[in-house]
C-alpha cells in the first residue's frame, strides 16, 4: 500500500526540480523578484488606484530618483565599501543646481554638468580617503556626510531664498523634474539609461571586472596587480556623480532645497541594495539586483504613505524589511551549498523484478574462470574503463589522468601516451578509417586520428524543452558504437551528476540518462532515446539495423532499431539481470559479451522501493555513509539476442578483477578492464576463433 503510494508520489511530484532550481545561477535574483511580486500582491488590493496612471507616474518618478542613488550605492558596495554620504551629496547638489539655475542663470545642460562636478568632487574626497589612504569606508563616508551636511546647512541658511526665489521659467528645466514621455517620467528614463550604462560597465568593461574583483577578494586582487586604490576611488566618484544627478532632478521637481533634504536617503539606498541581493561583503551584486531592491523600497514606502497608517509604521516596516533582507543574505551565503547538497538528490521509485539466484543451477553460477588472467600494465595504468585493439594488435585504453594509453603489441610491456584528451576517457571504438573515437566523461565525444591528432566531435546536443537542468551539455558520456553508415551512437549515463558523483545517481534511481547520435556526415548531434536508467554499454548488432544497450541501474539490456523496417522499436531482451550491466561488445561466435560492474543485493533493491527512506538518509546521514550498490564483485557474461546466457566468467576471489566494466575479444583472447582498477586482464578463451577481431567484424568483411 505504502509502496504504491511511494511509486505514485515519485512519479507525479517532480521533486528533483527543487534542487535543480536552487543550483541555477539566477536563483539569487529570484528571491528579490519574489519579494517584489509579494509586495505588489499585498498592496494592490488595499490601495484602490495602485495601478492608476497618475499613481504609476508619481511612483516611477520617485523610483527614478531613488534608482540613480541606488545604482551608485550598488557600485560602491560591489567593490566592498559603503557610501553613507549620498544623502549629503544629494542635498548639496539640489542646492547647487537651484543656485546655478535660478541665481546664476545657467542653461540646463551646464547645470547638470556643474552638479555632476560637485558630486564628483565629494566622491573624490571619499575616494581619496578610502581608496588611497585606506581609511575605513563606514567612518569616512560618515565624516563626509557630517561635513558636507554642515556646509549645506550653512549655505542653505544664507542663500536659500536667493537660490529659490527668482524662479526662472524654462520648459527644459521643468521637464527634468516633472516631465514625462508617454507617461514615463524623465527621471525614470534617465535612471534606466544610466542603469544600462552601469550594467555594461560592470559586466563587459575592464573597470567593472576590476570592481567586482576588488569586492570579491581584495587581497587577491591586490596581489594580482589590480590597482585597488584607483578602482575603489572610482566607485566613490561614480556614486557621488549619480547622487548629484538625482539631486538635480529633485531640485527641478520641488524647486526648493529645505534643510532636511536627503536625510535618511543613505538608509533607503542601502536597504534597496541589500533587499535586491547585493552582498554587503562585496563582490556579489548587479544592476538588476539594485533595481529590484529600489522598486521594492519605492513600492513599500509610497504604499505605506498612501495607506495613511500614521507615523512610525513606514519606518518600522522598512527597518524590518532591511533586517530580514540582510538576515536572508547572510544565511543564504553561508548555507547555500549545504542546502543544495541536501536538496539536490531526489530519490525516485524503482521496483526491480526479483533477481535470479546465483547458485549452482543458474547460468550465472560462480566460478574461477578469471583466475588465470595475464596482467597488462599492473600498477602502471589507472582506471582503464574500456580497452580496444587496433589492426596491428596494439592495445588502447583510457586512464583517469585524461590519457589514452597505448600498449604495444605483442607483449604489451611497453606503453606510451597515445593522446592526452583530459577528463576520463571511457568508451572506445575504431571507425572505418582507423580513427579512435572516444567518449570522454565530462567532456564529450572525441576522435583521435592515426596521426594522434585530437578532434572534438561533439560536446553539445539539443536541449530538451522541459528540462530545468541545461541538458545540452554532456556530463557523463559513457560508451559508444558506430553504425555501418558512420553514425556514432553513444550513451550519456546521467544528466544530473558529474563523473565524480556518478554513484549518487544510483541512489536517485531516476531515468536521468539518454542515448545520443552524432552524425559525422552532417556534424549534428541529437538525443535519440531519453529517460533511461543509466545507459551504459552500446553494441551494434550484426544486422546493422539495431544496437543493444545496457541500463546499469535498470539491470536490463534493450535492443533498439535505428534503421530498417523496424526503426524506432525498443525491445527489452534481458529484463532481469542479477547485476548492473556495463559495456557490451561482440564475441567471435556471433553473440555478445557483457560486463557486470556490480551485483544486485536485496538490501539495496529494497531501498530502491523506498524513496522516502533514501531522502531522509541523504538529509541526515553524512555523504560517506550513504547506502550504495555493491560494486565489489562482478562478472562477464556471454548472451545471445534471445536473452539466453551462454557463458559466465567470475573472479571468485576478487584477486584481479573484482569489478569489471568492459571486456573486448580479440584474436582468441578476452581483454578485461575496470574503471577502478589498475591493471588490464588478458584471458585465453578456449575454442575462440584466433583470427577474429572487432575491426574485421565491423569494417572489413568479417561476419555479417
Amino acid at each position: 500500500m505504502s509502496e504504491s503510494f511511494s511509486r505514485w508520489r515519485a512519479r507525479l511530484l517532480p521533486g528533483h526540480i527543487v534542487g535543480e532550481i536552487l543550483s541555477k545561477s539566477w536563483i539569487d535574483n529570484a528571491i528579490p523578484f519574489l519579494l517584489l511580486l509579494l509586495s505588489i500582491a499585498f498592496f494592490s488590493p488595499r490601495i484602490p488606484d495602485f495601478f492608476a496612471a497618475y499613481s504609476l507616474e508619481d511612483n516611477s518618478r520617485q523610483l527614478g530618483e531613488l534608482l540613480l542613488i541606488v545604482l551608485g550605492e550598488t557600485i560602491v558596495v560591489l567593490a566592498g565599501g559603503i557610501d553613507l554620504s549620498v544623502g549629503a551629496t544629494f542635498a548639496m547638489s539640489t542646492f547647487a543646481s537651484l543656485g546655478m539655475f535660478n541665481a546664476l542663470g545657467w542653461s540646463v545642460p551646464s547645470v547638470m554638468l556643474g552638479a555632476a562636478a560637485i558630486g564628483a568632487a565629494i566622491g573624490m574626497v571619499n575616494g581619496l580617503l578610502i581608496g588611497y589612504l585606506r581609511l575605513r569606508a563606514f567612518l569616512t563616508s560618515l565624516v563626509t556626510l557630517i561635513i558636507v551636511r554642515a556646509i549645506f546647512d550653512a549655505l542653505s541658511l544664507k542663500y536659500q531664498i536667493a537660490v529659490s526665489m527668482p524662479d526662472q521659467k524654462s520648459a527644459v528645466w521643468d521637464f527634468l523634474g516633472n516631465g514625462a514621455w508617454f507617461g514615463v517620467p524623465f527621471s525614470l528614463v534617465l535612471a534606466v539609461a544610466v542603469g544600462l550604462l552601469c550594467h555594461i560597465t560592470l559586466t563587459r568593461l575592464r573597470l567593472g571586472w576590476h570592481i567586482q574583483a576588488v569586492g570579491g577578494a581584495r587581497r587577491s586582487a591586490f596581489n594580482a596587480g589590480i590597482p585597488v586604490g584607483r578602482t575603489v576611488c572610482s566607485t566613490y566618484v561614480l556614486s557621488g556623480v549619480l547622487a548629484a544627478l538625482s539631486g538635480t532632478l529633485y531640485a527641478s521637481r520641488l524647486g526648493a532645497a529645505g534643510s532636511d533634504t536627503g536625510i535618511g536617503l543613505e538608509v533607503a539606498a542601502l536597504t534597496a541594495a541589500v533587499l535586491g541581493g547585493v552582498s554587503l561583503g562585496g563582490g556579489r551584486g548587479s544592476v538588476v539586483k539594485g533595481a529590484l531592491g529600489a522598486i521594492i523600497v519605492t513600492i513599500v514606502q509610497t504604499s505605506l504613505l498612501r495607506l495613511g497608517l500614521g507615523s512610525g509604521a513606514s519606518e518600522m516596516i522598512l527597518g524590518i524589511l532591511l533586517l530580514a533582507a540582510v538576515a536572508i543574505d547572510v544565511k543564504w551565503l553561508k548555507n547555500r551549498l549545504k542546502v543544495l547538497a541536501k536538496v539536490y538528490v531526489s530519490p525516485g521509485y524503482l521496483a526491480l523484478p526479483a533477481a535470479e539466484l546465483v547458485d549452482g543451477r543458474s547460468p550465472y553460477a560462480l566460478n574461477d574462470r578469471l583466475n588465470d588472467v595475464e596482467l597488462i600494465g599492473l600498477g602502471e595504468i589507472e582506471g582503464p574503463e574500456d580497452v580496444i585493439l587496433d589492426t596491428a594488435g596494439n592495445l588502447f585504453c583510457g586512464s583517469r589522468h585524461g590519457d589514452v594509453i597505448r600498449f604495444f603489441a605483442p607483449d604489451y610491456k611497453q606503453w606510451d601516451v597515445y593522446a592526452h584528451i583530459g577528463g576520463h576517457p571511457l568508451g572506445h571504438a575504431f571507425d572505418r578509417d582507423g580513427n579512435l573515437i572516444v567518449c570522454v566523461s565530462g567532456m564529450g565525444l572525441y576522435k583521435v586520428t592515426p596521426q594522434q591528432e585530437i578532434v572534438k566531435l561533439s560536446d553539445e546536443t539539443n536541449r530538451s524543452w522541459l528540462s530545468i537542468i541545461d541538458d545540452s551539455r554532456m556530463r557523463l558520456a559513457d560508451d559508444l558504437d558506430i553504425a555501418p553508415d558512420g553514425r556514432i551512437f553513444f550513451s550519456e549515463a546521467t544528466i544530473r551528476f558529474d563523473v565524480s558523483e556518478w554513484m549518487v545517481d544510483s541512489l536517485e534511481a531516476r531515468p536521468n540518462g539518454r542515448i545520443i547520435c552524432y552524425d559525422p556526415r552532417t556534424a549534428t548531434t541529437r538525443s535519440v532515446i531519453s529517460k533511461l536508467l543509466f545507459p551504459n554499454g552500446i553494441c551494434m548488432t550484426l544486422d546493422g539495423e539495431s544496437f543493444l544497450f545496457a541500463e546499469s541501474w535498470g539491470c536490463r539490456i534493450t535492443r533498439y532499431w535505428f534503421d530498417g523496417p523496424k526503426k524506432g522499436l525498443l525491445k527489452v531482451i534481458m529484463p532481469n539481470l542479477p547485476g548492473y550491466p556495463d559495456n557490451i561488445n561482440r564475441s567471435s561466435d556471433g553473440h555478445y559479451w557483457c560486463a557486470f560492474v556490480g551485483m544486485r543485493a536485496p538490501a539495496f533493491d529494497l531501498a530502491l522501493r523506498m524513496p522516502g527512506f533514501r531522502k531522509r538518509m541523504v538529509e541526515r546521514v553524512p555523504h560517506d555513509d550513504w547506502i550504495y550498490p555493491n560494486m565489489n564483485s562482478g562478472c562477464v557474461i556471454k548472451f545471445d539476442l534471445e536473452g539466453n546466457v551462454l557463458d559466465c566468467l567470475w573472479d571468485r576471489n576478487g584477486v584481479n578483477h573484482p569489478m569489471i566494466t568492459s571486456m573486448r575479444e580479440h584474436k582468441g583472447y578476452l581483454y578485461l578492464g575496470g574503471s577502478l582498477n589498475n591493471r588490464i586482464g588478458r584471458l585465453k578463451i578456449a575454442g575462440a576463433d584466433p583470427e577474429w577481431s572487432g575491426n574485421r567484424s565491423y569494417w572489413h568483411g568479417g561476419d555479417a
Binding site: 524647486g255 526648493a256 513606514s314
Partner: protein, 340 residues
Amino acid sequence: MRLNKVIGGLVAVMALALAALPAHAEFDDGQINKTRTLLKGKKVGFVPISMGFDLPQAWYEGLHRAAESYGFEVVVREANWNVQAGAQAINQLIGEKVDVLIIQPPEMLSYSRLVDKATAAGISVIQINLKSPNTGDVYVGANWTEIFKREAEGITAICSRDKGRNGKIALIQGALATSGSQIGSQALKEFFAARKDIDVVADQAADWDASKARAVSGTILKQHPDLCGFIGFWEVQDIGIAAAIKEAGLQGKVALVTNGGGEQKSNCANVANGNFTMDVSYDARGQARDLTTVVESLLQNKPTPPGSHPIGIYSPLTNIDKSNAAAGCWSLESVKRDGP
C-alpha cells in the same frame, strides 16, 4: 373575520410605513438640507507636519467631528517632519482628486510648486499655521510679524535701557527655513534695528529642539552672565531655554518671551511656574474652529477657478503672562473629549 384581516393588513402597512420614516425628522430651516447635500461624500486631505504635537491634534478634532456629522471624509497623511514624504503625500492626494487640501508647509518654499499644481488640478488649497509665498485659496493662521512684534515689545518692556536694565537680549531661532522662523527673524531685525535701547548680543538657531536650545542658551548665559532676556521662537523648543536659565540659577532674573498654540501644559503651566515670562498664544483651538469653518465654506461654495480669490483668516493673538495664565489656555484632553 374578513374585517379583522383587513384591519390587520392596514396595521401592518402602517407599521411598515412608520418604520420607513427617519427616526428624527429634521425640520428644514431653508438651508440645512442644501448644506448636507453639498457636504456629503466630499473628500478633504490633511497633510500636517506631524500628528505628534498639540496643534495638529487640535485641528484634527475639529475636522473629524464635522466630517462625521456631515458625511464627508477627512484623510490624514502626516509628513512626519519629512519634506519629501509630505510632498509625496500631497502628490498622491492631488492624484486622488480630493476636494479640499489642507497643508502645513514645514519650510517656506518646499510646497509652493505643489500649491500651484493642486490649484491647477481644481483643488482648493488651505494652508494652516505656516504658509508658502503663494496662498492657494485660504490661509488660516497667525500673522507671524505681529507675533514677533508682540514678543519684541514684551521683551523691550522688561529689558530696555530706558527702563533701567542693560538692554542685552539673545535670539534663539527655530529651524531657519521654516516660514515662521524666517518671518520672525526678519521682523525682529527690523524692529531692533530702529531701536537704540536694546542690543541683540547673540543670535543662534535651535532647530525646534529643546535640548539644543538648552545647550545653546546655556553657553550664551555663561558668556553674558548679565543677559536680560531671551526671545524664543516656539514654546515647545523654548522649554530648553527655561531649563538653561534654571540651571544657571537665574530664574526670575532672565526674561523669556515665546509664542505657541496656547495649550495648557506647554503654555499656561509654564507661564504660571515662571519658565516663561510671556507667551504669545495664537489659540490653536480657535484655529481648529476657523479651519473647520473654512473647509465647510469651501466645500459648499467653491471658488471657480480655485486660487482666484485667496483670503486670509488671521488668528487673534493673546499675550499670556502671569496675570491671565490661570484661565488663558485650552486643554488638549478636553478638546479631544468635547471638540474645539
